[in-house]
């Protein structure tokens, strides 16, 4: 049994309520931080812990905190990014729905560390019921004196607000989130200036994922070094993984980083293997925007080492043979899944969610989707596969925000690892007309049709 940091108390009845949460040792990190530590001590502990941003990019949280501009004398803000919209990711919802006070405790402690007196939780509009849970939890915390003026008599003031998004994936990008929070259209800003210098209301701002902030109370209660002991190398601590797809036990799991993918997939403690008696075909390890991995690269890296659930191991081999840990949206496919259809589905999502501000993403995502739709529906041409490759390479890296990259990586990886499947769709349009074309006839059975032959 591995160590649980975030979900340790999740099964305690009534943990949603303030009384139970407090009885179980909640809000001790606030007491400890406010009464016996300076803000810089807290930042130092988080730095020592090696905690990395859990939203997807994996940027060290302590370092991000230390960038915040304290010299300007402007008010500072902490914003919690709860706009969890990545297809395949649902860990933050689980955390906020079942143990909301953990996030609020984390927000108070982190805001103290940053010297922020007004902090925000930006939650996606689709999580309306969670929004209400958080509102109630904040009211409870305020009634108990953890928020408001002069918290615990230390002279530290903090107001915490929950703000509801209106259904845009792009608002998970930190600058778009800030724009949206300011009441504007959620378009990403051009960086620099970075939010740490000029963010919300042009004040220094830190934007962190829910899971990142929820890990802070444990780090403060114990120590950064204790946190750093968990995990391997630069991947410290625990990570929530939201597993979905063709596995026996889908759901949210807290794992210690460094667990092997094999154990996570197949042990009964976690996913318990495939839900069907079909073989594993592919894996998306970190939410829809990370590259998909084919079966032979899931458990072993390209140089034959065990693939581990860490930032480094999952990205081992770069994009050629690796992927990314991303936000931890672990999507498993058996051989009935059609990679072309899946890629089209992801592309459709990015087409729908592109904000329309910069040219490559606005025009390119729509183009990708249209071409993939044609291939999936038997209208593809042989040159379309190279066209897709060319379009995605032209979007990547040329956009304002990472949505363009997120839209191109899955397409690139699908073509890189499953090119034969695209060729099959193009060359045998009659066979793929049925929406479930790989259910009766998995690709392995028809692979010989598109195999290169020497006559």
């Amino acid at each position: 049994m591995s160590q649980k940091i975030l979900l340790d108390k999740i099964n305690v009845p009534g943990i949603k309520t303030y009384e139970v949460y407090r009885r179980e040792g909640g809000y001790t990190s606030v007491e400890k931080a406010l009464k016996s530590m300076t803000p810089d001590d807290v930042v130092e502990e988080v730095k020592k812990s090696g905690l990395r941003g859990r939203g997807g990019a994996g940027f060290p949280a302590g370092m991000k905190w230390s960038f915040i501009d304290k010299k300007s004398g402007k008010p500072r803000h902490l914003v919690c990014n709860a706009d969890e919209s990545e297809p395949g990711t649902f860990k933050d919802r689980y955390l906020m729905e079942f143990i909301p006070h953990l996030l609020i405790e984390g927000m108070i402690t982190s805001s103290f560390a940053l010297g922020a007196n007004r902090s925000y939780i930006y939650i996606r509009g689709e999580y309306m019921w969670v929004f209400k849970i958080l509102e109630r939890a904040i009211a409870e915390a305020k009634a108990a004196g953890w928020l408001g003026k002069n918290i615990l008599g230390t002279g530290y003031d903090l107001e915490l607000h929950v703000h509801c998004g209106a259904g845009a994936y792009i608002c998970g990008e930190e600058t778009a989130l800030i724009e949206s929070l300011e009441g504007k259209r959620g378009n990403p800003r051009i960086k620099p200036p970075f939010p740490a210098v000029s963010g919300l209301w042009a004040n220094p701002t830190v934007v962190n994922n829910v899971e990142t902030i929820a890990a802070v109370p444990w780090i403060v209660n114990n120590s950064g070094d204790d946190y750093a002991k968990i995990g391997i190398g630069r991947s410290t601590g625990t990570k929530l993984i939201s597993a979905s797809g063709n596995v026996k036990n889908p759901g949210v799991y807290e794992i210690e980083l460094g667990l092997s993918v094999d154990e996570f997939m197949n042990s009964d403690e976690y996913l318990g293997g495939m839900s069907t008696n079909r073989p594993l075909k592919a894996l998306v390890p970190g939410g829809s925007s990370v590259p998909i991995l084919p079966a032979d690269l899931i458990f072993k890296t390209a140089n034959g080492e065990d693939r581990l659930m860490t930032y480094e191991s999952l990205s081992d081999g770069g994009f050629a043979t690796g992927s990314m840990l991303g936000s931890g949206g672990f999507i498993v496919y058996d051989d009935t899944a059609c990679i072309v259809r899946n890629t089209w589905n992801f592309s459709r999502f990015y087409h729908h969610e592109s904000c329309g501000q910069c040219t490559p993403c606005r025009e390119g995502t729509g183009w990708l989707e249209k071409v993939l739709w044609r291939i999936e529906n038997g209208l593809g041409r042989e040159e379309d596969i190279d066209l897709l490759w060319s379009i995605q390479s032209k979007i990547e890296g040329n956009t304002i925000c990472p949505l363009g990259d997120a839209a191109s990586w899955p397409v690139a990886a699908a073509i890189r690892h499953f090119r034969e499947e695209f060729e099959y769709h193009v060359r045998f349009p009659e066979r793929i007309k049925n929406r479930d074309h790989f259910v009766a006839e998995p690709f392995e059975k028809v692979r010989h049709l598109v195999a290169k032959q020497t006559v």
Partner: protein
């Protein structure tokens, strides 16, 4: 601060962007800009046409920047080395941005009032290809009437958002903006026909393509058939300094005076732009000069025009003497036999 762009060094003040520095140098290394407008704040960074490669960040931190940077919003650092036209990567990126801008553009230049002074035409002339790889149906929008003076063609729009910046920065109440998102993002008014502001006409001047055009000039002439003159009048609302576009003695269009980067020198009011089409209202200063290579200059009357001679036989278009008689001369009627042959062919 010293900056090197395509091997040319220039001394600039702190806070200058790479694009501004390149414009100070001038010439071929100036990146094209579709959304940046130096007279408007907070424009730029969106179209990605002006991407450049920063080969050396600065003297203090000589590492190159991994991604291509939008030159209009990237500030210069001391000792920075930038590759614009010299870099293969940059040329490729500009080509791809051009392709992206054109896939959903209607390419209706033959009937577009902007043709001839269109930034997108210039961009595709420089960086575009003559072939398309886009076989899908183009994205289109329902036509919308945004007011009495300005014609909106949303299909042509490239969403540079300059017109939004004009409305924000020159007028008090902005009633139009970007609606929807992704490739369906569009410029629209909250209430139809709502744009009614004394300085709204400047949206036409800042629009790099034919998305916003002058209703009083609609389909009147191609821009290169007009003779542009600098003119001014006493105006209590604006500077009154304009370019009038004349055809014979008629003023067909009034615009702001645009510089070499197609940016107006000074914004003008709607009264000057739309209501004074009588030459008596204006003091004509003299011909407006345009770049040598621009389309508008192709019809430059200050230069001697040569008559076109087709190097072919004299009088070839008239046909042979006997043929003309047979076919077209009713004075010489055909006889019975000839009529029959003419009808059925000479079998």
């Amino acid at each position: 601060m010293k900056v090197t762009i395509d091997g040319q060094e220039i001394e600039v003040a702190p806070g200058t962007t790479i694009l501004q520095a390149a414009r100070m140098i001038g010439g071929e290394s100036v990146p094209p800009a579709m959304c940046y407008y130096s007279k408007l704040e907070k424009t730029g960074g969106k179209c990605r046409c002006c991407l450049v490669e920063v080969a050396k960040g600065s003297d203090a931190d000589p590492r190159p920047m991994p991604k291509l940077m939008a030159s209009c919003v990237t500030g210069c650092m001391d000792g920075m080395e930038v590759n614009s036209k010299n870099s293969e990567r940059v040329r490729e990126a500009r080509q791809s941005v051009t392709e992206f801008l054109l896939i959903n553009h209607p390419l209706d230049c033959p009937i577009c009032d902007q043709a001839g002074e269109c930034d997108l035409q210039d961009l595709s002339f420089e960086h575009g290809k003559s072939k398309t790889r886009f076989i899908e149906e183009k994205r289109t929008f329902e036509p919308e009437d945004i007011g009495p003076n300005i014609q909106l063609h949303m299909n042509r729009c490239i969403l540079c958002q300059r017109c939004v910046a004009v409305a924000d920065q020159l007028t008090d109440n902005r009633v139009h903006g970007v609606l929807d998102r992704g490739d369906h993002a569009n410029i629209s008014t909250c209430i139809s026909k709502a744009i009614d502001n004394e300085f709204s006409g400047n949206m036409i001047d800042v629009c790099p393509v034919g998305a916003l055009t002058d209703k009083t000039f609609r389909f009147k002439s191609r821009v290169w058939f007009n003779k542009p003159y600098n003119a001014h009048r006493d105006c209590d609302k604006c500077c009154g300094k304009t370019t009038v576009w004349m055809f014979g003695d008629e003023i067909q269009r009034v615009t702001g005076r645009k510089d070499v980067y197609h940016e107006v020198e000074e914004f003008i009011c709607n009264e000057c732009r739309f209501e004074h089409k009588d030459p008596a209202d204006w003091v004509i200063e003299g011909p407006r000069k345009f770049d040598k290579d621009s389309v508008i200059n192709q019809n430059n009357y200050t230069r001697e025009m040569e008559t076109v001679h087709i190097a072919t036989e004299e009088g070839i278009l008239k046909g042979r003497e006997q043929d003309r008689k047979k076919i077209s001369m009713t004075a010489i009627p055909l006889d019975q036999k000839e009529q029959e042959e003419f009808k059925n062919g000479n079998l």
